[in-house]
Amino acid sequence: MNKATDSIDISINDETKQVAINSTVQSVIEIYAELAGADVNAIAVAINSEIVPRVRWQSECCLAGDKFEIFSVVAGG
């Protein structure tokens, strides 16, 4: 396996990460959640400064250079 061609660089909350080429948004979020000890169901995501609704996580693949911002809802006030 050639890592250079089978993986791509993306950023998640300003940190560069390597993920498999053709990774879905869902799979990236699941990996992030596991590493961060976060609950996938408590996460929202913006890619390249555009919110990606949850229903599109399975169908959307990420591209090299994508900037993920993963965050949770803040409801207080």
Binding site: A44, P53, V74, G77
Partner: protein, 273 residues
Amino acid sequence: MPLTDKEFIRYSRQILLPEVGEAGQQTFADAKVVIIGIGGLGHLVAQYLAAAGIGHLTLVDGDTVEVSNLPRQLLFDDSDLGLYKALVAKTKLRRAYEQTGVSAVTEHLNHNNAESVLNSAEIDLLLDCSDNFATRHFVNQLAIKQQIGLVSASAAHFQGQLLSIDQHVSPQSGCYHCLFPADMRVNQSCQTVGVLGPMVGTLASMQALMALQLIMGNKALIGKLYRFDGNQFSWREARLLRNPECMICGNEYTSAAAKSACEKFPFTENQYE
């Protein structure tokens, strides 16, 4: 009605702004705004809007002033403990800003009072200053159902979020439910993770500024989420995107979708901290 000399002097620093001018000040005076939650966010938003000369504010909150509110809810003091926040705020705002009409609703927003509180023919803007996820969803559903612009702000710990939606201006941006589905888990509230006064105040100031901008007709802010990190002092911006399958706004936003959703998500009694 043209501005009086007294009003012209009072609001001179606002009128000086080309974006406001006399016409904008008159627009403020004609505007009617409903504020849900008169806690850390709402008390300050209400004060800013009254001070700016907004014509009428409806303050909705069933909570009373508690001592743990005082470090960040600056409109209240020890002599107000145990009194309804909405009433105390109404009294103090009327005294300081007599040109602004203020109504107080001393109940939490619920299915029974929502219709009388939100008469869309008379409301220019709805501001969500509540402190819990269920209320935020209920307010969103009402905004979609009644086709009122909504500015929603929140803060807890060192995180703040601010967004505005308006189905007339930007239906493609969807709604609060598209961004944060109702079955999402919520970890942060001021009661569980704590908050500093200026953190809530920052979001309240931004919410009030956004409200004034929207009333002035600046539509460029609609359909965006702004996130503030109070540890790093950074703001992030993202475009909101409608979930085409959203049960609140995804079909015909004017139709039964929001109405039935309101019924599907029974509103629970909550507190506006």
